[in-house]
């Protein structure tokens, strides 16, 4: 989707300048560098993650440095801003390797209850578009970002997931499960699922 066809519904707050360097001018993320999309994530989820980065509940050296100086008011401004942006994909995601399609789709849609793994979509909604305020969109984030999160829940470097739900699930996933389901989710196009319903793409101006 060419950037020039998009317009942000509201002007970015000054706080967003440092975010945009990595997460993009439209919050679309930069998969090649493993920076996730922020546009359209639930505000409450963004707020929680910024506070977790600041206090070490979610360990990430870059984001700790970014989040620690932010005041609660600034965190709210940023969260509301990125939540307000239409879901924007930086580029079409790579297609899923055929070997992974079946396992990835199975885990996403139905889970593997014998292994104690509920379907991703049971909590993150059909298509992985997320369920505000607690369950973020997982569709269309890069496979590497998603896989890193699953690993982080397994090892405990990411915490703060409500009731430990993601820790429970991630701890039961094999490396192959992780690879398959993250490839599958990355290839989904949440923009089509969400934009059409609630947040039409605004066209006609640069910015």
């Amino acid at each position: 989707m060419p950037r020039r066809l998009l317009r942000r519904p509201v002007a970015p707050p000054t706080e967003a300048a440092s975010c945009a360097a990595c997460h993009g001018a439209f919050g679309e993320g930069l998969p090649a560098e493993n920076y996730p999309r922020l546009a359209g994530l639930p505000a409450q989820y963004i707020k929680a993650q910024l506070s977790y980065f600041a206090d070490g509940t979610r360990k990430n050296a870059i984001m700790a440095g970014m989040a620690k100086p932010l005041s609660p008011a600034q965190i709210t401004i940023l969260a509301d801003y990125y939540a307000s942006l239409p879901v924007t994909m930086p580029a079409p995601a790579a297609s899923v390797a055929p070997d992974f399609v079946a396992r990835g789709q199975q885990l996403a849609e139905f889970g593997d209850w014998k292994a104690g793994i509920p379907a991703c979509f049971r909590c993150h909604a059909a298509g992985g578009v997320g369920v505000p305020p607690y369950f973020p969109p997982i569709a269309g984030q890069s496979a590497k970002y998603l896989a890193d999160q699953i690993t982080a829940w397994q090892t405990g470097t990411r915490q703060g997931d409500p009731q430990g739900l993601m820790h429970s699930v991630a701890s039961r996933m094999t490396a192959v499960d992780t690879q398959a389901v993250t490839a599958y989710l990355a290839a989904l196009k949440p923009a089509a699922a969400v934009l059409g319903d609630t947040q039409p793409v605004l066209t006609g101006g640069v910015q």
Binding site: Q106, G116, A126, V129, T155, G164
Partner: protein, 329 residues
């Protein structure tokens, strides 16, 4: 008893069950599958893999990927689709936002979550609920009338044929035996204290509200139900099995929250079941003209709060049931 084990017992896991968990079934434990980690304090000390764990079930239903592509398999697949998206595939019989899978984890394949294979080998059976021998098909009709707050599909209808075909397909190889391990929901130990609304509310807010929302209304995204409503107009009606506190406690203990089976204490399961079943919901379709008469005929037992006053509300006092016209298919 070391520090790791203690929390398990505090959570009501019996030493025998614990031995089972760490012995023969050790790989089933979540912690075993994970690398050595510092776990967040909020993780339940004892979150079992799935509802099957404490049921003793040995039967493994077939993989859904092996549903044949032939004429029979297509009907089996329709049955499975109905389980997961009931309103989409059986719209004329569904009067609320629920789907079968909400109470039958894994689409009726999971032991300890009222698996269809367990029911299939248990019917025909006498049921106290309607005081007669019911066929399997009649039992399925009850789900639509009560749990789905809709209307019973006719005997022999496409929907019931598909659900029977799917049930049979799941159960192949299982001996006919109504005592098959894994059927229904596993027993939950009796609570030390009588189930309580206020304690149940606290459990609900800590463990359930994240998904089912503050007032039990569930959550909807893009018009599709993600988390089902637990009470109110879009939930099961007063005639449903889940309206029994005992049934609900068993289901919750073994199945909730997702991925954390048996993580609540039995007391918590009973309390939160009482809280859920102490809320208003659609009228019992067997309504006898008054709450008192309906309670006397259908709810006169300690597991139903219908017709009793809970939290200041006389439950079920909502007049005659609304007639269900059916959704367009």
């Amino acid at each position: 008893m070391n520090a790791l084990i203690k929390p398990l017992f505090k959570r009501g896991i019996t030493p025998l069950a614990y031995a089972v968990l760490l012995g023969a079934s050790a790989p089933l434990l979540a912690a075993d599958a994970a690398p050595a980690v510092t776990q967040p304090s909020v993780i339940p000390a004892m979150a079992a893999l799935n509802a099957a764990l404490l049921t003793g079930a040995t039967f493994t239903p077939p993989d859904p990927a092996s549903i044949p592509k032939d004429e029979f398999g297509q009907v089996v697949q329709l049955g499975r689709n109905i389980m997961f998206e009931t309103k989409k595939y059986a719209p004329e019989y569904v009067g609320n936002s629920l789907s079968c899978v909400n109470c039958h984890t894994d689409g009726g394949a999971m032991a300890g979550s009222a698996p269809l294979w367990g029911a299939w080998v248990s019917y025909p059976a006498y049921r106290a609920k309607n005081k007669k021998v019911n066929t399997y098909e009649e039992r399925l009709q009850g789900c639509f009338r009560f749990s789905m707050n809709g209307k019973a599909p006719p005997l022999g209808s496409e929907v019931l044929v598909a659900l029977q075909a799917y049930s049979y397909w799941l159960a192949r190889g299982l001996p006919v035996d109504e005592k098959v391990a894994g059927r229904g929901y596993p027993n939950v130990p009796e609570p030390a204290l009588a189930p309580d609304f206020v304690r149940g509310k606290a459990v609900y807010e800590a463990q359930c509200a994240i998904c089912h929302a503050a007032n039990g209304e569930g959550r909807v995204v893009n018009g599709a139900v993600v988390f089902p409503p637990l009470w109110g107009a879009q939930s099961f009606n007063w005639g449903a099995g889940m309206g029994s506190i005992a049934n609900a406690a068993k289901f919750i203990y073994a199945n909730m929250p997702y991925g954390q089976s048996y993580s609540l204490t039995p007391q918590q399961a009973w309390d939160v079941a009482y809280y859920m079943d102490g809320q208003e919901r659609p009228q019992d379709p067997r309504y006898e003209g008054s709450v008192a008469a309906t309670r006397a005929k259908y709810h006169d037992n300690k597991n139903s709060l219908y017709g009793t006053t809970v939290n200041g509300v006389l439950l079920g006092d909502t007049g005659a049931p609304k007639s269900f016209k059916g959704n367009k298919s």
